[in-house]
């Protein structure tokens, strides 16, 4: 079995023995790790690949919820989607939500992580408080904030001493969803930042302190640059998650589209098409549009990262 010791340079002639040995090598590797990853691949295939392929097929048909009388209609659903103003309208709401929520999460998570990192007293309590909302189900969060934003007896107005109808006017409706989401999900990014903060070498701070840098300068010139990688990760994860915003908005607006239809998100519109209007084919087509957008964002990020790595080299 000397073949396995040969370097896999790709320069070796492709002979029968090489193929055989490659197969043997693969076989042994599979024996070592294959059985551990097989369940993942099986589940991934069954619950991700198969539904995606099936969804793609459905998007080219006029399938309804009963599955009867399904005809292949080519790209008609996509053509209709491009003319459907509610597709664009709801897509804009999802993008708008993303634009509001992502920067807030980055800033607030970082601030929270700095507090939890530097505080020495009751450290566990701070961490628990910051992370705990993340454990709640979306239905709880939606209902909770629905109550908090009530105009006359809600806590938000009571604390602020105002009587803003947060949920029923267009100008504040999306802000209400953003605030609820921020409270609910910021704990996850907070944890990432907290872990990253603990990895920044302490001597950097000591050196800066000796050089006379104040606390703010230390944060801006040591902490923030050292967290660049994790900020990139938080940004990417939050953008991808925020584009799929659905449940909290739906619960807060009780399956409605909000004041002047200002909080109907893309996923909500997909649900309405598929499960209220029973247009499964059309719903599949518009969900594929979102899939392509999200895939483009993810690929764009990978491309940026690669560029940066090449620059670094």
């Amino acid at each position: 079995m000397t073949t396995t010791l040969a370097p896999a340079t790709g320069l070796r002639p492709r002979t029968a023995t090489a193929t055989e040995s490659a197969r043997a090598r693969w076989g042994r590797r599979f024996q070592h790790g294959g059985w551990f990853v097989t369940p993942f691949f099986v589940l991934y295939g069954l619950f991700v690949v198969v539904p995606v392929v099936r969804g793609l097929y459905l998007s080219l048909t006029d399938a309804n919820i009963s599955g009867d009388h399904t005809r292949f209609i080519g790209l008609d659903n996509y053509r209709e989607a491009f003319r459907d103003h509610l597709v664009w309208n709801s897509l804009w709401h999802s993008v708008q939500f993303t634009l509001y929520v992502v920067p807030c999460i980055v800033v607030v998570a970082l601030l929270m992580a700095l507090i939890a990192h530097h505080i020495t007293h009751l450290k566990w309590l701070w961490r628990l408080c910051f992370f705990a909302p993340f454990l709640l189900p979306s239905a709880v969060v939606g209902n909770l904030w629905w109550w908090l934003f009530q105009p006359t007896n809600g806590m938000v107005n009571h604390v602020l001493g105002i009587d803003t109808p947060w949920l029923t006017q267009k100008s504040t409706a999306m802000i209400a969803v953003v605030v609820a989401t921020l409270w609910w999900t910021v704990g996850f990014s907070f944890l990432l930042y907290l872990a990253a903060l603990q990895n920044i070498p302490h001597h950097l701070y000591e050196a800066a302190e000796l050089d006379g840098a104040n606390a703010l300068q230390r944060v801006l010139h040591i902490t923030v640059p050292n967290l660049r990688t994790i900020t990139g990760l938080v940004l990417a994860l939050q953008v991808l998650a925020s584009l799929q915003v659905f449940d909290q908005a739906v619960v807060m607006y009780q399956f409605g589209p909000g004041p002047e239809e200002s909080t109907r998100t893309f996923v909500q519109y997909t649900l309405e098409q598929g499960f209220t209007s029973y247009r499964v084919g059309y719903a599949s087509a518009i969900s594929f549009i979102l899939f392509l957008i999200i895939a483009a964002v993810a690929l764009g990020r990978m491309w940026l990262l690669r560029l940066r790595e090449e620059d670094a080299r």
Binding site: Q150, F255, E260, S277, Y278, Y282
Partner: protein
């Protein structure tokens, strides 16, 4: 090297065995184990959507049925009303896992693909169990018929009511000698009532709970007042929208005035505010058990006929047979028996606030004694305002989803009534031109029975 006592193959087969055993266990739960356990020979799976004040009433009726018919084991499931319910029902029927019997709003029947997602009733079986067409409200019975077959067996009619607190209204000097509120027959009359009642309130209390921001209620109230003005939606051929934007504007202005003049506080939890002392709330009759349980001295009328002609929004719960490829046999017969029992025991059902579709109930002294049912039942049943009978209409259907938010925007003042009325018309035009996804035909083609 020590080996664990179980090798991979043994482990896999053990897990597989557990899975099979587990799935058999679940399958048994869903196919008759409990029927066998109860000693019953027939098992009927029954889905309903009653979660409000009427929910406990339905559970009590099913229990009463069980006592009378020990040979039929009813496996009843209560699911959340609205989208979740109709989605599950459609998918169960499409996937051939439908329950034997379920409840559906009559307005949803035309869009629910009778013949494909719904099976017709067996008239022979219904007759056997004492159900006769002559005993039912003829309008409701006819609405259940599609292509000459009965698909929806009517249980009740349920309406939007104007509830009033007698204690507050009495203090305001509004009640007549019988202790009832006189009917307001014009918008001026109505606002005069509200104005008088408001004087009795503390700061922050609303005079009328109107669900101004709720897309379903907004649409239902619109339907009622629009019909009071004699407004229509589509022509008889279902090819043109005949929606009258002037009349619609009048209705929207009326609804918005409650908010503009401060009688309604947007976002206030209406039923709770009523229990806490608000004099009026517009709610469905399913709130009757809830309000009665709280020992509030109250009355209930149909929505006030402020535009002259009485009309209040009405929908109807009916029994349907979700499609099963092999419908028939004992379970199907049990479903017919259970439905027949429910529709005929309408006095018990009326305790939940609904107006029975079964006419002999109106001769039942026990029913006539029910308050406030006896205040609203007859006028409500005589003047129902229903959504247009078309595939995209019906409780929480596509029409309510598209048009309800427009009414709500006008109610809360973020859209001008006239602009909202035009918006409503364009939504109606869009929907009328849309093909029913279940059969690929527009409303006009369905009416004429032509193919796509």
């Amino acid at each position: 090297m020590a080996r664990p006592g179980l090798n991979r193959r043994q482990l896999l087969s053990a897990v597989g065995g557990l899975t099979v055993a587990g799935s058999l266990g679940f399958a048994a739960l869903g196919t008759g184990a409990d029927a066998l356990a109860s000693g019953a020979s027939t098992r009927v799976r029954y889905w309903n959507l009653f979660t409000g004040g009427d929910g406990a009433n339905m559970v009590a009726m099913v229990d009463a049925f069980r006592k009378e018919h020990p040979g039929v084991a009813v496996k009843d499931s209560t699911l959340t009303w609205g989208d979740p319910y109709y989605t599950k029902l459609a998918m169960a029927a499409a996937g051939n896992r439908a329950p034997d019997l379920s409840v559906m709003h009559q307005g949803r029947v035309p869009g629910f693909a009778p013949g494909r997602l719904l099976d017709p009733w067996d008239m022979g079986l219904l007759t056997k169990y004492g159900v006769r067409e002559a005993d039912f409200n003829p309008v409701l019975w006819k609405r259940g018929i599609v292509d000459g077959k009965l698909y929806a067996l009517p249980l009740d009619i349920h309406v939007q009511l104007s509830f009033y607190r007698k204690d507050v209204c009495r203090k305001a000097g509004l009640l007549d000698a019988d202790g009832r509120l006189p009917t307001a027959t014009s918008t001026d009359d109505w606002f005069a009532l509200l104005k008088a009642a408001r004087k009795q309130l503390k700061d922050g209390q609303q005079t009328l709970g109107l669900h101004a921001f709720d897309q379903n209620f907004s649409w239902w109230f619109f339907v009622a007042f629009y019909q009071q003005l004699g407004g229509g939606y589509f022509d008889d051929d279902r090819t043109d929208v005949t929606f009258d934007t002037d009349k619609a504007t009048q209705v929207l202005e009326f609804l918005h005035q409650h908010v503009a003049d401060g009688y309604t506080v947007v976002g206030q939890t209406d039923a709770e505010a009523f229990l806490a002392g608000s004099p009026f709330v517009w709610e469905g009759n399913w709130s009757v058990p809830y309000f009665s349980g709280e020992k509030v001295d109250y009355g209930a009328q149909p929505l006030p006929p402020v535009f002259g002609t009485p009309a209040t929004h009405a929908e109807s719960h009916s029994f349907v047979l979700p499609h099963q490829a092999d419908r028939g046999g004992a379970a199907n017969e049990g479903a017919h028996l259970l439905a027949a029992y429910m529709v005929k025991h309408a006095t018990a059902w009326a305790g939940g606030g609904h107006v029975p579709a079964y006419l002999p109930t109106f001769q039942d002294p026990a029913y006539l004694k029910l308050t406030p049912q006896n205040e609203y039942s007859r006028p409500a049943m005589e003047h129902p305002a229903t959504e247009p009978r078309i595939w995209f209409a019906g409780s929480t259907g596509t029409l309510a989803k598209r048009i309800g938010p427009v009414v709500a925007s006008s109610n809360v003042g973020s859209a001008k009534p006239a602009a909202a009325a035009h918006r409503m018309k364009s939504v109606l035009e869009e929907l009328l031109a849309t093909r029913n996804p279940m059969d690929g035909r527009t409303a006009a083609q369905e009416l004429k029975g032509t193919a796509a």
